[in-house]
């Protein structure tokens, strides 16, 4: 016989009460599992959707270089600042970097100044970094001197797939392998070339205008920016893209607050439940506990006994609750989807996992045990003389 046997036998004395106490923990653990699962699922659904729908998240440039094409074009021709190509491999090693697009941007103005062409040397990564960069017809470069044309320039020049166009400036023929969808941005007027070709045409082998990055998790944007900055030479810079305002990230953090308020409420209810029932269980056994003290039980013995009782309930309730939470999470995911008004991501909202269930189980057990400390403490303070009190 040990303390656990006695604690267990005490629980069986009032099974209904023990079960009800356990149930409040079942509810807490289940709520916690569901809410953390929803929070995680919602964040990652929103995140992946944002990552999908947005383009460049960051640029790596030479210090002081305003990368936006407008300024390059305004200068006319070729910016004297450049980023070393070797940085591409370096930034690729960062765990939060999803795609890396090195590019070479330059403009060519015809001698009479009547027109300026924008050229951009790119790698196939552009299709991953820029979701709005889509072919209207044709496809990727077929050879070294293939070009892909923005919608507007193709229209102005009257070019179609398979056409060959002559460039006076470079004294060379280019064949058109693809034409892009109009996206009402700078792309519409840009002539895209293979990166190596572009570098060769302006004698800038191994040099880049800048590197565009797409992240895996944009909520880690600030942290990643600092880490990247540490990976590159001091005269280079990491700029955040204008595309990603803080607004959308803020929106979903307020949704998370609402979910966590739910958890807090569930916890407060169960904390009161546990404290209340355990206190009752202790107070109605006053004289019996006093008797145990008569026969030599010390303060710590009583503390231990009562805490064991609660511990058993908490472990059982939390375990059951965590599993129930895992099981019902998907239903709550669908329910949440019907409630969300402002921003509903397309991915799965609920993302339950064993580690979440484990976290819920441990924290509920811990809270349960902490809650039992007060009743246990009260019990340990009962004086043995009470055993003989006349009622």
């Amino acid at each position: 016989m040990n303390f656990m046997t006695v604690a267990w036998s005490n629980l069986r004395r009032n099974p209904v009460r023990s079960i009800l106490t356990g149930l409040s923990l079942v509810v807490s653990a289940a709520t916690l599992t569901v809410v953390i699962g929803l929070d995680k699922g919602y964040s990652s659904a929103v995140n992946s959707e944002l990552v999908e729908s947005t383009g460049v998240h960051m640029y790596i440039t030479k210090e002081g270089c305003p990368i936006e094409a407008a300024s390059v074009i305004a200068q006319g021709g070729l910016s004297p600042l450049f980023v070393e190509e070797e940085l591409v491999e370096r930034v690729q090693t960062h765990p939060n970097v999803d795609a890396v697009l090195p590019f070479k941007l330059f403009t060519v103005t015809v001698e009479d100044g009547s027109r300026t062409d924008i050229f951009m040397g790119v790698t196939p990564e552009i299709q991953r970094v820029r979701p709005d960069w889509q072919f209207a017809s044709g496809g990727w470069f077929e050879s070294e001197y293939s070009v892909i044309l923005g919608a507007e320039i193709a229209q102005i020049e009257g070019l179609e797939i398979g056409d060959v166009t002559y460039s006076e400036e470079f004294d060379r023929e280019f064949n058109v392998s693809g034409i892009l969808e109009r996206n009402y941005g700078q792309d519409d007027a840009t002539i895209f070339l293979p990166l190596a070709t572009a570098q060769r045409l302006v004698q800038r082998e191994g040099r880049l205008s800048a590197i565009a990055l797409k992240l895996t998790d944009i909520s880690l944007m600030d942290q990643s920016r600092n880490e990247l900055r540490a990976m590159i030479p001091a005269d280079s810079n990491v700029l955040g893209s204008r595309e990603l305002g803080d607004g959308i990230l803020q929106f979903y953090s307020s949704t998370r607050v609402i979910m966590f308020i739910m958890v807090v409420i569930a916890f407060v209810i169960s904390v009161f439940g546990i404290v209340n029932t355990m206190l009752m269980a202790v107070l109605e056994r006053r004289r019996e506990i006093a008797y145990l003290k008569c026969v030599g039980a010390g303060k710590t013995d009583i503390l231990k006994l009562i805490t064991f009782e609660t511990f058993a309930i908490c472990v059982a309730g939390s375990l059951l609750g965590a599993f129930i939470g895992l099981a019902v999470s998907p239903y709550f995911g669908n329910f949440m989807r019907s409630l969300l008004v402002a921003y509903v991501p397309s991915g799965s909202i609920a993302q339950p996992s064993l580690s979440i269930a484990l976290l819920a189980f441990l924290s509920c057990t811990l809270i349960g045990v902490v809650c039992s400390l007060y009743p246990a403490f009260r019990a340990s303070k009962i004086v043995p003389m009470e055993v003989l009190r006349n009622e």
Binding site: M1, N2, F3, T5, V6, S9, N10, R12, R13, R287, E288, Y291, L292, K293, C294, V295, G296, A297, G298, D301, V383, P384, M385, V387, L388, N390
Partner: protein, 223 residues
């Protein structure tokens, strides 16, 4: 060690309780000396201070004034921890109520104090249950027993740590005369093996079976 050969020694012990503005003198200048092996009956009206006396002998309460010695321990300034230790090793308690845990078996109930003494008392528990005539009821639950049997379980439990003193506060108060007689026979049997017993009782017939009767009236003891 000068203990005059007494196992329990009380000199001019008083115990006052306050109830509001009123002071109740539950014990007044009480003197009591008990030799090892005595079987004392404490007799008195309700409210005369019997339980208060037992509380003080049992180290459950401290006197307001006076000198108390139990075995070799002077109780006066001992910290609570040591009083617990004395109760654990030297004193057994039996009450009118049995305080059996309903979900523990007879054997487990008897073994319970061993849990707090951190001792394996199973062998001793079986032996004691044999002595009180419950050898065949070890795995029964308390509510399967009669009142007399429950009190016998309680007696076995009170003796599990081999105390030298058994304090019994109206142990037959809840029992009919037949069962009461059985319990007293059992006490006599343990008393013959050297156990010192102090027992509170209302019943004059039971009192006359003891080696000494102490009368208590309004907190005053008279032998």
């Amino acid at each position: 060690m000068n203990n005059n050969g007494y196992l329990i020694h009380m000199e001019s012990v008083s115990k006052d309780f306050r109830r509001g503005s009123e002071t109740i003198h539950a014990l007044r200048e009480a003197n009591l000396s008990v030799h090892p092996g005595e079987f004392i009956a404490v007799v008195g009206h309700s409210g005369s201070g019997k339980t208060t006396l037992m509380n003080i002998i049992g180290c459950l309460d401290r006197p307001t004034s006076g000198y108390v010695r139990i075995a070799d321990h002077k109780i006066k300034d001992l910290p609570e921890k040591e009083l617990t230790q004395i109760r654990k090793t030297t004193i057994g308690f039996v009450f009118q109520q049995f305080f059996l845990i309903p979900t523990l078996t007879v054997l487990q109930n008897v073994m319970l104090p061993g849990l707090f003494a951190r001792q394996n008392v199973e062998k001793r528990a079986r032996e004691l249950l044999g002595l009180v005539g419950l050898k065949n009821r070890l795995s029964h639950l308390p509510d399967q027993l009669s009142g007399g049997e429950m009190q016998r379980v309680a007696i076995a439990r009170s003796l599990i740590n081999n105390p030298s003193i058994l304090l019994a506060d109206e142990p037959t108060g809840n029992l009919d005369s037949h069962n009461a007689g059985n319990i007293i026979s059992m006490f006599e049997q343990f008393n013959r093996t050297g156990l010192t017993i102090v027992m509170v009782t209302h019943n004059p017939d039971i009192a006359t079976r003891c080696s000494k009767i102490v009368h208590i009236e309004d907190g005053c003891l008279t032998a």
